[in-house]
Amino acid sequence: MNTPALPPNPDPLLNQAITPELVKKHGLLPDEFARVQQHLGRTPTLTELGIFSVMWSEHCSYKNTRPLLKGFPTEKKGATAQFGRVLVKAGEENAGIIDVGDGWAIAFKIESHNHPSAIEPFEGAATGVGGIIRDIFTMGARPVLLTNSLRFGELESPATRRLLRGVVAGIAHYGNCVGVPTAGGDVYFDRSYEGNPLVNALCLGTLRHDQIRRGKATGVGNPVYYVGAATGRDGLGGAAFASKELSAESKADRPAVQKGDPFMEKLLIEACLEMMAVPGLVVGIQDMGAAGLTCSTCETASRGGAGIEIELDRVPQRETGMNSYEIMLSESQERMLVIVQRGREREIEEVFAKWDLHAAHIGSVTETGRMVVTQHGVTVADIPAPALTDEAPIYQREGKPPAYLATTRAWTPAGAKLPDLDAAGAESALRRLLAHPTIASKRWLYRQYDHMVQHGTVVLPGSDAGVVRLRLGDKEKFIAISNDCNGRYCYLNPHRGALIAMVECLRNLVCAGATPLAMTDNLNFGNPYKPENFYQLQECVRGLAEACRFFDVPVVGGNVSLYNESPEGAIDPTPTVSVVGFIEEEAHITRQFARGAGERLILLGGAPHELGGSQFLGLIHGLKTGDAPAVDLAAELRLQQLLLAQIKLGRVRAAHDLSEGGLMVTASEMLFGPADGAAQLGATLDLSAFASGRRDALLFGESQGRVIVAVVADTAASVLAAAAAAGVPAHAVGEVTDGGRLEVVGLGAVLAWPVAELRRGWETSIEVAMQRPGLS
């Protein structure tokens, strides 16, 4: 405490004494405040307190999760010099980058905007999309694909309908205008997300290896530029806001929600990519996302081992009289920080003038290692840059298994005397499951998203995985992407639930004909200070890491969103994973829809036999219990390798994995191909081989590692033989018909459904629900 105090701030409001109450309001613990004082050698000014508060929030510092995340593999063992190398690793930059061959690479990352979307669904979701797009083009990549992963409460609730409507409209507003296709996603509806929806947005971009840019400030004397939109008072302290639980008072935090301008973002993308294409002009670049100007300056300085000095009077401002606290903490959208090679200022200014955007020279790189901020000629903050980043506090929290696990894991259908289904019950259960919003068609959502702009979308939304064609110079390559996470499994068994999220995601990609390449994750959990929540987090991360290593799928980046709680309690743990897969040849692209009568249906992986955590238990019996389905990584790998090989041999006409709703939902969905298809397909399934077990578990259980494939009739024997050779259980269970009826024989009375009727319920369920009024 021997460093002299800074001079008084030009705004007298900012000269108040730093009291313990003020420290608490900034979300810092007394210990943390003592560390701040140590770093500075004095008491911070209010501006500095604000800066520490946002940089040491969970959102920016990962202080409660960093040790856990170290368990993730960040390199691909099977990579070659030509393909699959991780070029920028997780945590190094705004997004990871992976080599896709021929000198080209892809950058991708997922990020959450849960809290803003809970308070202000339209703007919250829109700016979530904007933020993740900036994370991608700041790496030098052109954004070519968006997906999202959404979780809401049940649609019966008017509040949920309001949130869904707002979130979808916000995603559409931003993504459509900015011109990046929203070509994939997943949505679940479950009571645990009531009041705390999850909005995770992913963006993927393409770039040449030599276009990779980093968020580093180097070269003493190099000018620092601020480009893009002007700074306002919106989004003040958003990162700190995201690191609190939601409460009834959260609406008072509305100023912490930002407002997006996708048109500005579109200009910024084009101008930045144009600027980055000029050889040697850009030294470093970083977007101003969470914690805005604060985060971008101290992170670039810290990464570059340099200092940075900025003058706030030069920052473009859209309101008058903003003080240093407001400017430094604003999260106004569509802004970037660029460090330019000294002497080449005119070149950057010309590019931005062409696009009619601000490019303000606000400071320079120094050798001090400090982040120094001045306003009206007065120093208002002077902090060692690493104190805000690498030297932020790190905690090893305690985890404790939640008490409910003992009860839920011990549950069995027999123990609970759960009656099995009769024929009428089975027929009704399928209708109800197909119409449940979690399983039903998501057409209501994706028809609002432009999923075709950039003319590269190959597999439209609604199949197991989205597939896009990348135009890379004069080459084309095809990639598939899938998002997954069943929070219910993670609630019942966090470790297994996370394994399932991964293996199901990989299975979806393989069903599309892709080889999994790399993964990005979004860890959505409750308050980590509660040991039960931390246990879920620990166990889920352990599961993801285990599956990633087993399948050699590195983690190239991600996001952590904690404090996802409403007054009702924490959400189901939701470690959302998104995996990108690579498709070697266009001919391998496979959809989930059967294509014609006569195709043979083969069930790979054996008969489903588990009920725990299933949608069936939830919907039909009102139970969220049992253990999550078992996972056998080795068996899963055998299945996926077999399936991919059969696809490459041209034997597979359609492939669809078993997931929510089990065997009968999968079989039904395979018949719901694009409406313009030929005559209404049907199918006959003979399940007599499995008649000995519980009927409900067979038809609707969610055992993992299962896929139904529709194969060319005269190759069925070869597929079965290949499965036998690979050690994958395989059963010929029926064939595709043109009768428009789905029938199950071999279980006593014949079960039968008109496909058109099943389809109607599945296709229109969300639309019908959304016609009811939402809360305004």
């Binding site: 459509n176 048109f263 579109k266 075709m452 950039q454 003319h455 190959v458 064609r469």
Partner: protein, 227 residues
């Protein structure tokens, strides 16, 4: 033959339109920046889709004042071919090069899906034999609901200016109108995207036939236009 694709701030289907002509039809194609005051030599000017100027104020309302639009006006007045797709259609309506206006979809939501469209029978300068009676093209818009006053509507129909109609109306458009041309037959506009229907993996390849039909409207006597 040269195709000129305009680029406004916020255009986002400019590359799609470029590739429809450059990759799909293998025609020499280039971009023209909105601040340019001349088009250079061109056999067809394409006004692409997107959100020019963020669709602020009204779709197309600001883009029509871009410097390049003065040149497009002159080019069209001299008989040059102009083709507006989606936002381009909206811009051409705002610029007065096509009659009518496009307002918010009846459902009040953006719609992205593939539509079946009935093609108008042959007429002077419109030879849809390459198209057949129906085509399938994707749409992607929030403001594709075509409106025109009664007198305008009568003129459109009398002159055979309605070229494409939705078989299942996705946006509330008057008389299911999806695409039109001007009275002279050299300015075309449509909400559906031929620039999303030309690759082997697209929902159809009908965009190629649409582009050819528009190019075929060029009267042999007109020669190369430049402005």
């Amino acid at each position: 033959m040269t195709i000129a694709v305009l680029q406004f701030p916020g255009s986002n289907c400019d590359q799609d339109a470029f590739h429809l002509f450059a990759s799909g039809l293998r025609l020499p194609t280039r971009y023209v920046w909105h601040k340019d005051t001349a088009l250079g030599e061109a056999d067809l000017v394409v006004v692409p889709g997107g959100f020019s100027y963020g669709d602020y104020l009204r779709c197309g309302a600001i883009a029509r004042f871009s410097p390049v639009m003065r040149a497009v006006q002159d080019y069209a007045a001299a008989g040059g071919l102009v083709f507006g797709i989606c936002n381009g259609f909206q811009i051409l309506c705002e610029a007065g090069l096509l009659p009518g206006a496009l307002v918010r979809n009846g459902c009040l939501e953006y719609r992205c899906l593939t539509c079946t469209l009935a093609v108008a029978p042959a007429g002077p300068g419109w030879n849809p034999t390459v198209l057949g009676a129906q085509v399938r093209l994707p749409i992607g818009h929030g403001e594709g609901n075509y409106r025109i006053d009664e007198a305008g509507r009568t003129r459109l129909e009398a002159n055979g200016q309605v070229l494409l109609r939705y078989t299942e109306n996705p946006n509330g458009s008057l008389d299911d109108i999806a695409g039109i041309r001007n009275e002279r037959g050299n300015v075309f506009g449509m909400m559906p995207h031929p620039d999303r229907a030309f690759e082997r993996f697209h929902p159809s390849q009908d965009g190629l036939a649409i582009a050819r039909a528009v190019l075929a409207a060029k009267s042999p006597a007109a020669g190369k236009q430049s402005a």
